[in-house]
Amino acid sequence: MTFRLTTALAVILGLASPAVAQDKILNVSYDVARELFAEINPVFAEKWQADTGRTVTIDQSHGGSSKQARAILEGLPADVVTFNQVTDIDVLAEGGLLEEDWREAFPNDASPFYSLPAFLVREGNPKGIEDWDDLAAEGVQVIFPNPKTSGNARYTYLAAYAYALDQNGGDQEAAQEFVKKIFANVPVFDTGGRAATATFAERNIGDVLITFEAETGGIAAQYADAKFERVAPSLSVLAEFPVAVVTENAEKNGSAEVSKAYLDYLYTPEAQRILAKHYYRVNDETVAAEVAADFPEVKLVTVEDVFGGWEQAQEQHFAEGGILDSVFVNQ
Protein backbone atom coordinates (compact mmCIF):
# COMPACT_ATOMS: atom_id res chain seq x y z
CA MET A 1 0.00 0.00 0.00
CA THR A 2 2.64 2.47 1.07
CA PHE A 3 4.71 1.45 -1.88
CA ARG A 4 1.83 2.02 -4.26
CA LEU A 5 1.11 5.42 -2.82
CA THR A 6 4.74 6.39 -3.17
CA THR A 7 4.70 5.34 -6.80
CA ALA A 8 1.51 7.28 -7.28
CA LEU A 9 3.10 10.31 -5.69
CA ALA A 10 6.08 9.94 -8.00
CA VAL A 11 3.74 9.83 -10.97
CA ILE A 12 1.92 12.95 -9.82
CA LEU A 13 5.16 14.81 -9.31
CA GLY A 14 6.25 13.52 -12.66
CA LEU A 15 3.31 15.35 -14.15
CA ALA A 16 4.65 18.60 -12.83
CA SER A 17 8.29 18.14 -13.76
CA PRO A 18 9.07 16.56 -17.11
CA ALA A 19 12.66 15.73 -16.13
CA VAL A 20 12.36 12.30 -14.50
CA ALA A 21 15.10 9.78 -14.09
CA GLN A 22 13.46 6.98 -16.00
CA ASP A 23 12.11 6.75 -19.52
CA LYS A 24 8.48 7.46 -19.95
CA ILE A 25 6.24 7.52 -22.97
CA LEU A 26 2.61 8.22 -23.56
CA ASN A 27 1.05 6.07 -26.25
CA VAL A 28 -2.14 7.65 -27.48
CA SER A 29 -4.13 5.01 -29.24
CA TYR A 30 -7.48 4.07 -30.72
CA ASP A 31 -10.33 2.83 -28.63
CA VAL A 32 -10.34 -0.94 -28.90
CA ALA A 33 -6.58 -1.40 -28.44
CA ARG A 34 -6.94 -1.38 -24.65
CA GLU A 35 -6.15 -5.02 -23.96
CA LEU A 36 -3.57 -5.22 -26.73
CA PHE A 37 -1.22 -2.61 -25.33
CA ALA A 38 -1.91 -3.69 -21.80
CA GLU A 39 -0.17 -6.91 -22.84
CA ILE A 40 2.52 -5.50 -25.11
CA ASN A 41 3.73 -2.70 -22.83
CA PRO A 42 5.14 -4.78 -19.97
CA VAL A 43 6.89 -7.11 -22.41
CA PHE A 44 8.50 -4.17 -24.15
CA ALA A 45 9.47 -2.58 -20.84
CA GLU A 46 11.25 -5.78 -19.86
CA LYS A 47 13.07 -5.93 -23.15
CA TRP A 48 14.01 -2.27 -22.93
CA GLN A 49 15.48 -2.79 -19.50
CA ALA A 50 17.43 -5.81 -20.69
CA ASP A 51 18.78 -3.90 -23.70
CA THR A 52 19.58 -0.55 -22.14
CA GLY A 53 19.43 -1.03 -18.38
CA ARG A 54 16.81 1.72 -18.18
CA THR A 55 13.28 1.38 -16.97
CA VAL A 56 10.41 2.68 -19.00
CA THR A 57 6.86 3.53 -18.03
CA ILE A 58 4.33 3.44 -20.83
CA ASP A 59 1.11 5.32 -20.28
CA GLN A 60 -1.93 4.69 -22.42
CA SER A 61 -4.82 6.82 -23.52
CA HIS A 62 -7.60 5.29 -25.59
CA GLY A 63 -10.50 6.81 -27.51
CA GLY A 64 -11.90 7.23 -31.00
CA SER A 65 -8.75 7.91 -33.03
CA SER A 66 -9.88 11.21 -34.55
CA LYS A 67 -10.94 12.39 -31.14
CA GLN A 68 -7.51 11.40 -29.85
CA ALA A 69 -5.81 13.27 -32.71
CA ARG A 70 -7.77 16.36 -31.76
CA ALA A 71 -6.72 16.02 -28.14
CA ILE A 72 -3.08 15.83 -29.24
CA LEU A 73 -3.53 18.95 -31.34
CA GLU A 74 -4.98 20.57 -28.23
CA GLY A 75 -1.93 19.63 -26.25
CA LEU A 76 -2.27 16.03 -25.06
CA PRO A 77 1.46 15.24 -24.74
CA ALA A 78 1.59 12.00 -26.77
CA ASP A 79 5.08 10.65 -27.52
CA VAL A 80 3.82 8.01 -29.90
CA VAL A 81 0.54 7.43 -31.63
CA THR A 82 -0.80 4.03 -32.62
CA PHE A 83 -3.87 4.82 -34.65
CA ASN A 84 -6.03 3.01 -37.13
CA GLN A 85 -6.14 5.65 -39.79
CA VAL A 86 -3.55 7.42 -41.86
CA THR A 87 -5.55 10.65 -41.95
CA ASP A 88 -5.51 11.01 -38.19
CA ILE A 89 -1.71 11.09 -38.23
CA ASP A 90 -1.71 13.37 -41.28
CA VAL A 91 -3.69 15.84 -39.23
CA LEU A 92 -0.87 15.86 -36.69
CA ALA A 93 1.65 16.40 -39.47
CA GLU A 94 -0.40 19.34 -40.71
CA GLY A 95 -0.38 20.69 -37.18
CA GLY A 96 3.42 20.59 -37.30
CA LEU A 97 3.76 17.94 -34.61
CA LEU A 98 5.58 15.43 -36.80
CA GLU A 99 7.14 15.13 -40.25
CA GLU A 100 5.06 15.08 -43.44
CA ASP A 101 6.83 11.88 -44.52
CA TRP A 102 6.12 10.00 -41.31
CA ARG A 103 5.05 6.92 -43.29
CA GLU A 104 8.65 6.34 -44.29
CA ALA A 105 9.95 6.23 -40.73
CA PHE A 106 8.88 2.61 -40.17
CA PRO A 107 8.59 -0.47 -42.40
CA ASN A 108 5.47 -1.30 -44.38
CA ASP A 109 4.28 2.32 -44.59
CA ALA A 110 4.54 2.57 -40.81
CA SER A 111 1.81 -0.01 -40.34
CA PRO A 112 3.00 -2.94 -38.20
CA PHE A 113 -0.24 -4.91 -38.36
CA TYR A 114 -3.61 -4.88 -40.03
CA SER A 115 -7.20 -5.94 -39.64
CA LEU A 116 -10.53 -5.47 -41.39
CA PRO A 117 -14.10 -4.55 -40.55
CA ALA A 118 -15.95 -7.74 -39.67
CA PHE A 119 -19.20 -8.69 -38.00
CA LEU A 120 -20.17 -10.02 -34.61
CA VAL A 121 -23.71 -11.42 -34.30
CA ARG A 122 -25.78 -12.87 -31.49
CA GLU A 123 -25.97 -16.56 -30.69
CA GLY A 124 -27.31 -18.62 -33.57
CA ASN A 125 -27.21 -15.60 -35.88
CA PRO A 126 -31.02 -15.17 -35.67
CA LYS A 127 -31.12 -12.53 -38.40
CA GLY A 128 -28.99 -14.63 -40.72
CA ILE A 129 -26.35 -11.98 -41.27
CA GLU A 130 -23.66 -13.24 -43.62
CA ASP A 131 -22.60 -10.29 -45.73
CA TRP A 132 -23.00 -6.54 -46.21
CA ASP A 133 -26.32 -7.00 -48.05
CA ASP A 134 -27.93 -8.32 -44.92
CA LEU A 135 -27.08 -5.13 -43.04
CA ALA A 136 -29.19 -3.01 -45.37
CA ALA A 137 -32.26 -5.20 -44.90
CA GLU A 138 -35.22 -3.76 -43.07
CA GLY A 139 -35.57 -4.62 -39.43
CA VAL A 140 -31.87 -5.25 -38.84
CA GLN A 141 -30.22 -3.12 -36.20
CA VAL A 142 -26.59 -2.41 -36.93
CA ILE A 143 -24.10 -1.08 -34.39
CA PHE A 144 -20.92 0.76 -35.22
CA PRO A 145 -19.43 4.01 -33.89
CA ASN A 146 -19.61 7.55 -35.22
CA PRO A 147 -17.53 7.85 -38.43
CA LYS A 148 -16.84 11.47 -37.53
CA THR A 149 -14.93 10.52 -34.42
CA SER A 150 -13.91 6.93 -34.96
CA GLY A 151 -11.47 5.60 -37.55
CA ASN A 152 -12.94 2.17 -36.95
CA ALA A 153 -16.31 3.36 -38.23
CA ARG A 154 -14.76 5.04 -41.26
CA TYR A 155 -13.39 1.65 -42.30
CA THR A 156 -16.86 0.22 -41.91
CA TYR A 157 -18.21 2.97 -44.11
CA LEU A 158 -15.51 2.39 -46.72
CA ALA A 159 -15.93 -1.38 -46.69
CA ALA A 160 -19.70 -1.17 -47.17
CA TYR A 161 -19.15 1.34 -49.95
CA ALA A 162 -16.49 -0.79 -51.62
CA TYR A 163 -18.76 -3.83 -51.42
CA ALA A 164 -21.61 -1.93 -53.09
CA LEU A 165 -19.31 -0.64 -55.83
CA ASP A 166 -18.15 -4.20 -56.40
CA GLN A 167 -21.73 -5.47 -56.63
CA ASN A 168 -23.01 -2.66 -58.84
CA GLY A 169 -20.20 -2.45 -61.32
CA GLY A 170 -18.77 0.74 -59.84
CA ASP A 171 -22.01 2.70 -59.76
CA GLN A 172 -21.33 5.48 -57.24
CA GLU A 173 -24.94 6.46 -56.76
CA ALA A 174 -26.05 2.90 -56.07
CA ALA A 175 -23.22 2.60 -53.56
CA GLN A 176 -24.34 5.75 -51.78
CA GLU A 177 -27.92 4.49 -51.63
CA PHE A 178 -26.71 1.19 -50.23
CA VAL A 179 -24.59 2.77 -47.52
CA LYS A 180 -27.39 5.13 -46.67
CA LYS A 181 -29.65 2.15 -46.00
CA ILE A 182 -27.12 0.62 -43.65
CA PHE A 183 -26.67 3.92 -41.79
CA ALA A 184 -30.44 4.21 -41.41
CA ASN A 185 -30.32 0.91 -39.53
CA VAL A 186 -27.91 2.23 -36.90
CA PRO A 187 -29.75 3.25 -33.71
CA VAL A 188 -26.72 4.71 -31.93
CA PHE A 189 -23.40 6.15 -32.97
CA ASP A 190 -20.96 5.97 -30.07
CA THR A 191 -17.80 8.06 -30.24
CA GLY A 192 -15.40 5.15 -30.06
CA GLY A 193 -15.23 1.50 -31.07
CA ARG A 194 -15.26 0.25 -27.50
CA ALA A 195 -18.35 2.20 -26.60
CA ALA A 196 -20.05 0.58 -29.59
CA THR A 197 -18.97 -2.83 -28.34
CA ALA A 198 -20.42 -2.01 -24.93
CA THR A 199 -23.67 -0.98 -26.59
CA PHE A 200 -23.85 -4.30 -28.38
CA ALA A 201 -22.50 -6.68 -25.76
CA GLU A 202 -23.38 -5.01 -22.45
CA ARG A 203 -26.50 -3.05 -23.30
CA ASN A 204 -27.87 -5.67 -25.64
CA ILE A 205 -28.69 -3.28 -28.44
CA GLY A 206 -28.54 -4.29 -32.08
CA ASP A 207 -28.35 -7.49 -34.11
CA VAL A 208 -24.84 -7.05 -35.44
CA LEU A 209 -21.75 -5.18 -34.36
CA ILE A 210 -19.34 -4.06 -37.05
CA THR A 211 -15.87 -3.43 -35.80
CA PHE A 212 -12.33 -4.59 -36.42
CA GLU A 213 -11.97 -8.33 -36.77
CA ALA A 214 -9.55 -8.10 -33.86
CA GLU A 215 -12.26 -6.70 -31.62
CA THR A 216 -14.83 -9.28 -32.72
CA GLY A 217 -12.37 -12.02 -31.80
CA GLY A 218 -11.54 -10.51 -28.44
CA ILE A 219 -15.16 -9.92 -27.51
CA ALA A 220 -16.32 -13.35 -28.63
CA ALA A 221 -13.63 -14.81 -26.37
CA GLN A 222 -14.39 -12.53 -23.42
CA TYR A 223 -18.14 -13.08 -23.65
CA ALA A 224 -17.89 -16.82 -24.04
CA ASP A 225 -21.18 -17.18 -22.13
CA ALA A 226 -23.10 -14.98 -24.53
CA LYS A 227 -21.93 -17.15 -27.44
CA PHE A 228 -21.50 -14.32 -29.89
CA GLU A 229 -20.57 -15.51 -33.34
CA ARG A 230 -17.97 -13.99 -35.62
CA VAL A 231 -18.92 -13.48 -39.23
CA ALA A 232 -16.46 -12.51 -41.93
CA PRO A 233 -17.99 -10.67 -44.89
CA SER A 234 -17.06 -11.74 -48.42
CA LEU A 235 -15.26 -8.48 -49.08
CA SER A 236 -13.73 -5.96 -46.76
CA VAL A 237 -11.25 -3.12 -46.62
CA LEU A 238 -7.74 -3.62 -45.41
CA ALA A 239 -7.46 -1.58 -42.26
CA GLU A 240 -3.99 -0.33 -41.57
CA PHE A 241 -2.81 0.59 -38.12
CA PRO A 242 -0.26 3.31 -38.71
CA VAL A 243 2.15 4.32 -35.99
CA ALA A 244 4.33 7.39 -35.58
CA VAL A 245 6.54 9.16 -33.13
CA VAL A 246 5.08 12.58 -32.32
CA THR A 247 8.43 14.17 -32.90
CA GLU A 248 7.78 17.53 -31.35
CA ASN A 249 6.53 16.10 -28.06
CA ALA A 250 9.10 13.29 -27.98
CA GLU A 251 11.98 15.71 -28.42
CA LYS A 252 10.60 18.00 -25.78
CA ASN A 253 10.19 15.07 -23.40
CA GLY A 254 13.53 13.53 -24.30
CA SER A 255 11.80 10.32 -25.28
CA ALA A 256 12.63 10.16 -28.99
CA GLU A 257 14.89 7.15 -28.65
CA VAL A 258 12.64 4.97 -26.55
CA SER A 259 9.62 6.01 -28.63
CA LYS A 260 11.27 4.79 -31.79
CA ALA A 261 12.40 1.58 -30.11
CA TYR A 262 8.86 1.02 -28.87
CA LEU A 263 7.34 1.29 -32.33
CA ASP A 264 10.16 -0.78 -33.86
CA TYR A 265 9.38 -3.44 -31.31
CA LEU A 266 5.88 -3.86 -32.74
CA TYR A 267 7.48 -5.37 -35.86
CA THR A 268 9.40 -8.08 -33.98
CA PRO A 269 8.12 -11.68 -34.10
CA GLU A 270 7.56 -11.55 -30.36
CA ALA A 271 5.21 -8.57 -30.62
CA GLN A 272 3.59 -9.94 -33.78
CA ARG A 273 2.70 -13.11 -31.88
CA ILE A 274 0.99 -11.05 -29.20
CA LEU A 275 -0.83 -9.14 -31.92
CA ALA A 276 -2.02 -12.34 -33.55
CA LYS A 277 -3.21 -13.56 -30.17
CA HIS A 278 -5.41 -10.46 -30.07
CA TYR A 279 -6.80 -11.38 -33.48
CA TYR A 280 -4.83 -8.84 -35.49
CA ARG A 281 -3.42 -9.95 -38.82
CA VAL A 282 0.34 -9.56 -39.07
CA ASN A 283 2.89 -9.20 -41.82
CA ASP A 284 5.71 -11.23 -40.29
CA GLU A 285 5.65 -14.30 -42.53
CA THR A 286 6.68 -16.87 -39.96
CA VAL A 287 4.10 -15.68 -37.44
CA ALA A 288 1.43 -15.27 -40.11
CA ALA A 289 1.96 -18.88 -41.18
CA GLU A 290 1.70 -20.10 -37.57
CA VAL A 291 -1.68 -18.50 -37.01
CA ALA A 292 -3.14 -18.76 -40.52
CA ALA A 293 -5.84 -21.17 -39.36
CA ASP A 294 -7.36 -18.54 -37.06
CA PHE A 295 -8.05 -16.08 -39.83
CA PRO A 296 -10.66 -16.79 -42.50
CA GLU A 297 -9.87 -15.77 -46.01
CA VAL A 298 -11.52 -12.51 -46.99
CA LYS A 299 -11.16 -10.60 -50.23
CA LEU A 300 -9.41 -7.43 -49.11
CA VAL A 301 -9.37 -4.22 -51.09
CA THR A 302 -7.28 -1.22 -50.13
CA VAL A 303 -8.17 2.42 -49.82
CA GLU A 304 -5.66 3.09 -52.60
CA ASP A 305 -7.38 0.65 -54.99
CA VAL A 306 -10.96 1.70 -54.50
CA PHE A 307 -10.84 5.25 -53.23
CA GLY A 308 -7.67 6.59 -54.81
CA GLY A 309 -5.80 6.89 -51.53
CA TRP A 310 -6.53 8.49 -48.21
CA GLU A 311 -6.22 12.05 -49.37
CA GLN A 312 -8.86 11.59 -52.00
CA ALA A 313 -11.06 9.53 -49.70
CA GLN A 314 -10.85 12.26 -47.11
CA GLU A 315 -11.76 14.93 -49.65
CA GLN A 316 -14.60 13.07 -51.36
CA HIS A 317 -16.07 11.21 -48.47
CA PHE A 318 -15.15 12.50 -45.04
CA ALA A 319 -14.60 16.23 -45.41
CA GLU A 320 -17.39 18.63 -44.43
CA GLY A 321 -20.10 18.31 -47.08
CA GLY A 322 -18.62 15.08 -48.44
CA ILE A 323 -20.49 11.90 -49.30
CA LEU A 324 -20.47 10.76 -45.68
CA ASP A 325 -22.45 13.85 -44.71
CA SER A 326 -25.17 13.03 -47.22
CA VAL A 327 -25.30 9.41 -46.08
CA PHE A 328 -25.11 10.21 -42.39
CA VAL A 329 -28.61 11.66 -42.50
CA ASN A 330 -29.04 11.39 -38.79
CA GLN A 331 -26.42 13.97 -38.07
Binding site: L9, V11, I12, L26, D59, A71, G75, L76, E202
Partner: protein, 280 residues
Protein backbone atom coordinates in the same frame (compact mmCIF):
# COMPACT_ATOMS: atom_id res chain seq x y z
CA UNK B 1 -36.03 22.34 13.25
CA UNK B 2 -39.01 23.19 15.33
CA UNK B 3 -41.78 20.77 16.12
CA UNK B 4 -44.54 22.13 13.98
CA UNK B 5 -48.16 21.56 14.87
CA UNK B 6 -48.12 17.79 15.12
CA UNK B 7 -51.35 16.82 13.47
CA UNK B 8 -51.13 13.27 14.75
CA UNK B 9 -52.77 14.13 18.05
CA UNK B 10 -55.11 16.89 17.03
CA UNK B 11 -56.21 16.01 13.57
CA UNK B 12 -59.52 14.41 12.79
CA UNK B 13 -59.60 10.89 11.45
CA UNK B 14 -59.62 11.56 7.70
CA UNK B 15 -56.55 13.72 8.25
CA UNK B 16 -54.74 10.82 9.75
CA UNK B 17 -55.55 8.55 6.81
CA UNK B 18 -54.19 11.18 4.48
CA UNK B 19 -51.13 11.40 6.70
CA UNK B 20 -50.42 7.68 6.47
CA UNK B 21 -50.93 7.69 2.72
CA UNK B 22 -48.56 10.61 2.26
CA UNK B 23 -45.90 9.13 4.53
CA UNK B 24 -46.24 5.85 2.69
CA UNK B 25 -45.83 7.56 -0.64
CA UNK B 26 -42.78 9.43 0.63
CA UNK B 27 -41.12 6.21 1.76
CA UNK B 28 -42.04 4.35 -1.39
CA UNK B 29 -40.85 7.09 -3.71
CA UNK B 30 -37.60 7.58 -1.87
CA UNK B 31 -36.90 3.87 -1.71
CA UNK B 32 -37.50 3.53 -5.41
CA UNK B 33 -35.46 6.46 -6.67
CA UNK B 34 -32.84 6.98 -3.99
CA UNK B 35 -32.32 4.05 -1.66
CA UNK B 36 -32.33 1.19 -4.15
CA UNK B 37 -29.92 2.83 -6.63
CA UNK B 38 -27.62 3.51 -3.70
CA UNK B 39 -27.76 0.00 -2.30
CA UNK B 40 -27.39 -1.48 -5.76
CA UNK B 41 -23.92 0.05 -6.12
CA UNK B 42 -22.58 -1.95 -3.19
CA UNK B 43 -24.53 -5.04 -4.14
CA UNK B 44 -23.08 -5.05 -7.64
CA UNK B 45 -19.55 -4.12 -6.49
CA UNK B 46 -19.57 -7.13 -4.19
CA UNK B 47 -21.39 -9.45 -6.59
CA UNK B 48 -18.19 -11.33 -7.46
CA UNK B 49 -17.17 -11.64 -3.82
CA UNK B 50 -15.06 -9.60 -1.47
CA UNK B 51 -11.78 -10.80 -2.96
CA UNK B 52 -12.72 -9.65 -6.44
CA UNK B 53 -13.89 -6.37 -4.96
CA UNK B 54 -10.58 -5.84 -3.19
CA UNK B 55 -8.65 -6.77 -6.33
CA UNK B 56 -10.64 -4.20 -8.31
CA UNK B 57 -9.94 -1.48 -5.77
CA UNK B 58 -6.20 -2.07 -5.57
CA UNK B 59 -5.81 -2.34 -9.32
CA UNK B 60 -3.01 0.20 -9.91
CA UNK B 61 -5.05 2.44 -12.21
CA UNK B 62 -8.01 2.58 -9.86
CA UNK B 63 -5.73 3.20 -6.90
CA UNK B 64 -4.09 5.99 -8.82
CA UNK B 65 -7.47 7.46 -9.68
CA UNK B 66 -8.34 7.48 -5.98
CA UNK B 67 -5.04 9.19 -5.28
CA UNK B 68 -5.47 11.77 -8.03
CA UNK B 69 -9.00 12.54 -6.92
CA UNK B 70 -7.75 13.11 -3.38
CA UNK B 71 -4.97 15.38 -4.61
CA UNK B 72 -7.45 17.44 -6.62
CA UNK B 73 -9.73 17.77 -3.59
CA UNK B 74 -6.79 18.63 -1.31
CA UNK B 75 -5.81 21.47 -3.62
CA UNK B 76 -9.22 22.82 -4.53
CA UNK B 77 -10.95 22.76 -1.16
CA UNK B 78 -8.38 24.92 0.71
CA UNK B 79 -8.32 27.36 -2.19
CA UNK B 80 -12.10 27.46 -2.05
CA UNK B 81 -12.02 28.18 1.67
CA UNK B 82 -9.59 31.08 1.34
CA UNK B 83 -11.31 32.62 -1.66
CA UNK B 84 -14.79 31.93 -0.32
CA UNK B 85 -13.97 33.72 2.93
CA UNK B 86 -12.33 36.56 1.08
CA UNK B 87 -15.34 37.03 -1.16
CA UNK B 88 -17.77 36.79 1.75
CA UNK B 89 -15.78 39.34 3.78
CA UNK B 90 -15.63 41.67 0.79
CA UNK B 91 -19.31 41.46 -0.02
CA UNK B 92 -20.67 41.39 3.52
CA UNK B 93 -18.52 44.09 5.03
CA UNK B 94 -18.07 46.67 2.28
CA UNK B 95 -20.18 48.48 -0.24
CA UNK B 96 -18.81 49.18 -3.66
CA UNK B 97 -20.24 49.47 -7.13
CA UNK B 98 -20.72 46.12 -8.84
CA UNK B 99 -21.14 44.21 -5.60
CA UNK B 100 -24.24 42.40 -6.77
CA UNK B 101 -22.64 41.70 -10.11
CA UNK B 102 -19.64 40.13 -8.38
CA UNK B 103 -21.96 37.93 -6.38
CA UNK B 104 -23.79 36.87 -9.51
CA UNK B 105 -20.52 35.97 -11.20
CA UNK B 106 -19.39 33.90 -8.22
CA UNK B 107 -22.69 32.02 -8.41
CA UNK B 108 -22.44 31.56 -12.17
CA UNK B 109 -20.72 28.13 -12.10
CA UNK B 110 -23.69 26.83 -10.18
CA UNK B 111 -25.98 27.34 -13.15
CA UNK B 112 -23.58 26.56 -15.98
CA UNK B 113 -23.49 22.93 -17.01
CA UNK B 114 -20.09 21.52 -16.06
CA UNK B 115 -19.62 20.20 -19.55
CA UNK B 116 -19.93 23.75 -20.85
CA UNK B 117 -17.29 24.76 -18.32
CA UNK B 118 -15.02 22.13 -19.81
CA UNK B 119 -15.64 23.46 -23.31
CA UNK B 120 -14.82 26.99 -22.08
CA UNK B 121 -11.50 25.81 -20.68
CA UNK B 122 -10.66 23.98 -23.86
CA UNK B 123 -11.37 27.10 -25.90
CA UNK B 124 -9.15 29.06 -23.54
CA UNK B 125 -6.16 26.81 -22.88
CA UNK B 126 -6.25 24.44 -25.85
CA UNK B 127 -3.39 24.72 -28.29
CA UNK B 128 -5.82 26.38 -30.68
CA UNK B 129 -7.47 28.34 -27.92
CA UNK B 130 -7.12 31.92 -26.79
CA UNK B 131 -4.04 31.37 -24.62
CA UNK B 132 -2.85 28.18 -26.31
CA UNK B 133 -0.02 29.62 -28.40
CA UNK B 134 1.36 31.65 -25.49
CA UNK B 135 1.31 28.69 -23.14
CA UNK B 136 2.77 26.43 -25.78
CA UNK B 137 5.65 28.81 -26.32
CA UNK B 138 6.30 28.92 -22.59
CA UNK B 139 6.06 25.11 -22.47
CA UNK B 140 3.32 25.15 -19.85
CA UNK B 141 1.03 22.14 -19.86
CA UNK B 142 -2.41 22.96 -18.48
CA UNK B 143 -4.89 20.77 -20.28
CA UNK B 144 -4.61 16.98 -20.06
CA UNK B 145 -2.63 17.35 -16.84
CA UNK B 146 -3.19 18.13 -13.19
CA UNK B 147 -3.44 21.94 -13.59
CA UNK B 148 -6.34 21.63 -16.04
CA UNK B 149 -8.22 19.21 -13.81
CA UNK B 150 -7.67 21.44 -10.79
CA UNK B 151 -8.81 24.56 -12.67
CA UNK B 152 -12.09 23.10 -13.89
CA UNK B 153 -12.74 21.68 -10.44
CA UNK B 154 -12.15 25.13 -8.97
CA UNK B 155 -14.67 26.46 -11.46
CA UNK B 156 -17.44 24.04 -10.54
CA UNK B 157 -16.84 24.38 -6.78
CA UNK B 158 -16.39 28.16 -6.75
CA UNK B 159 -19.76 29.17 -5.21
CA UNK B 160 -19.98 26.70 -2.33
CA UNK B 161 -18.12 28.36 0.54
CA UNK B 162 -19.28 31.90 -0.21
CA UNK B 163 -22.85 30.67 -0.50
CA UNK B 164 -22.84 29.24 3.01
CA UNK B 165 -20.77 31.86 4.79
CA UNK B 166 -22.07 35.07 3.28
CA UNK B 167 -25.70 34.99 4.46
CA UNK B 168 -24.51 34.27 7.96
CA UNK B 169 -22.04 37.13 7.98
CA UNK B 170 -24.70 39.44 6.66
CA UNK B 171 -27.20 38.34 9.26
CA UNK B 172 -24.75 38.75 12.09
CA UNK B 173 -23.75 42.25 11.11
CA UNK B 174 -20.39 43.80 11.86
CA UNK B 175 -20.94 45.38 15.29
CA UNK B 176 -18.64 42.94 17.06
CA UNK B 177 -15.94 43.40 14.50
CA UNK B 178 -16.16 47.15 14.71
CA UNK B 179 -15.96 46.95 18.47
CA UNK B 180 -12.80 44.91 18.12
CA UNK B 181 -11.46 47.47 15.70
CA UNK B 182 -11.95 50.32 18.17
CA UNK B 183 -10.11 48.20 20.73
CA UNK B 184 -7.14 48.26 18.39
CA UNK B 185 -7.26 44.76 16.87
CA UNK B 186 -5.67 44.22 13.47
CA UNK B 187 -7.65 42.90 10.53
CA UNK B 188 -6.40 39.35 10.90
CA UNK B 189 -7.00 39.38 14.63
CA UNK B 190 -10.56 40.51 14.07
CA UNK B 191 -11.09 37.81 11.52
CA UNK B 192 -9.51 35.05 13.58
CA UNK B 193 -10.95 35.98 16.98
CA UNK B 194 -14.29 37.54 16.13
CA UNK B 195 -15.54 36.51 12.71
CA UNK B 196 -14.24 32.98 12.36
CA UNK B 197 -15.72 31.60 15.59
CA UNK B 198 -19.12 32.89 14.49
CA UNK B 199 -19.06 31.30 11.08
CA UNK B 200 -16.88 28.22 11.54
CA UNK B 201 -19.68 25.69 11.15
CA UNK B 202 -21.09 27.35 8.06
CA UNK B 203 -17.57 27.45 6.70
CA UNK B 204 -17.06 23.77 7.38
CA UNK B 205 -20.45 23.06 5.85
CA UNK B 206 -19.50 24.88 2.67
CA UNK B 207 -16.14 23.11 2.59
CA UNK B 208 -17.83 19.72 2.94
CA UNK B 209 -20.16 20.48 0.04
CA UNK B 210 -17.21 21.67 -2.04
CA UNK B 211 -15.34 18.47 -1.21
CA UNK B 212 -18.24 16.32 -2.35
CA UNK B 213 -18.42 18.21 -5.59
CA UNK B 214 -14.65 18.22 -6.17
CA UNK B 215 -14.44 14.48 -5.64
CA UNK B 216 -17.38 13.68 -7.88
CA UNK B 217 -17.02 16.06 -10.81
CA UNK B 218 -17.32 14.24 -14.10
CA UNK B 219 -18.43 16.38 -17.05
CA UNK B 220 -15.98 19.24 -16.77
CA UNK B 221 -13.03 17.01 -15.97
CA UNK B 222 -13.82 14.61 -18.80
CA UNK B 223 -13.32 17.38 -21.36
CA UNK B 224 -9.89 18.44 -20.12
CA UNK B 225 -8.42 15.21 -18.77
CA UNK B 226 -7.22 13.38 -21.91
CA UNK B 227 -7.98 10.22 -19.93
CA UNK B 228 -4.44 8.92 -19.70
CA UNK B 229 -4.73 5.67 -17.79
CA UNK B 230 -3.16 5.77 -14.38
CA UNK B 231 -2.29 9.42 -14.88
CA UNK B 232 -5.06 11.91 -15.52
CA UNK B 233 -8.06 9.76 -14.78
CA UNK B 234 -9.95 10.89 -11.72
CA UNK B 235 -12.19 8.40 -9.97
CA UNK B 236 -15.41 9.35 -11.79
CA UNK B 237 -13.59 9.07 -15.13
CA UNK B 238 -12.10 5.77 -14.06
CA UNK B 239 -15.64 4.48 -13.58
CA UNK B 240 -16.52 5.32 -17.16
CA UNK B 241 -13.24 3.85 -18.39
CA UNK B 242 -13.81 0.57 -16.56
CA UNK B 243 -17.37 0.53 -17.85
CA UNK B 244 -16.05 0.86 -21.40
CA UNK B 245 -13.35 -1.71 -20.64
CA UNK B 246 -16.38 -3.94 -20.10
CA UNK B 247 -15.25 -4.45 -16.52
CA UNK B 248 -18.65 -3.71 -15.02
CA UNK B 249 -17.92 -5.06 -11.57
CA UNK B 250 -14.71 -3.02 -11.52
CA UNK B 251 -16.72 0.07 -12.45
CA UNK B 252 -19.09 -0.58 -9.58
CA UNK B 253 -16.20 -1.22 -7.20
CA UNK B 254 -14.72 2.17 -8.10
CA UNK B 255 -18.20 3.68 -7.81
CA UNK B 256 -18.63 2.19 -4.36
CA UNK B 257 -15.60 4.10 -3.05
CA UNK B 258 -17.17 7.33 -4.27
CA UNK B 259 -20.48 6.32 -2.75
CA UNK B 260 -18.77 5.72 0.56
CA UNK B 261 -17.26 9.19 0.41
CA UNK B 262 -20.70 10.59 -0.39
CA UNK B 263 -22.18 8.84 2.63
CA UNK B 264 -19.44 10.16 4.90
CA UNK B 265 -20.06 13.64 3.54
CA UNK B 266 -23.74 13.23 4.34
CA UNK B 267 -23.07 12.18 7.89
CA UNK B 268 -20.66 15.03 8.50
CA UNK B 269 -23.14 17.38 6.89
CA UNK B 270 -26.00 16.24 9.11
CA UNK B 271 -23.84 16.68 12.19
CA UNK B 272 -22.75 20.16 11.15
CA UNK B 273 -26.24 21.24 10.15
CA UNK B 274 -27.39 21.30 13.74
CA UNK B 275 -24.52 23.56 14.67
CA UNK B 276 -25.07 25.91 11.74
CA UNK B 277 -28.63 26.24 12.95
CA UNK B 278 -27.37 27.29 16.36
CA UNK B 279 -25.00 29.86 14.83
CA UNK B 280 -27.94 31.44 13.11
Amino acid sequence: MRAASTPGALAPREDRTAQYVLIGLAFLGTAFIVAVPLAYIFWRALSDGVAAFAANIIAPDTLHAIWLTSVVALITVPVNIVIGLSAAWLIARFTFPGRKLLLTIIELPFSISPIIAGVCYLLLYGRQGLLGPTLGAADIQILFALPGIVLVTLFVTAPFVTREVLPLMQAQGSEQEQAALTLGATGFQIFRLVTLPNIRWALLYGAVLATARAVGEFGAVSVVSGSIRGQTNTLPLQIELLFNDLNIVGAFAAASTLTLIALIVLIVKTVIEGRVGREE
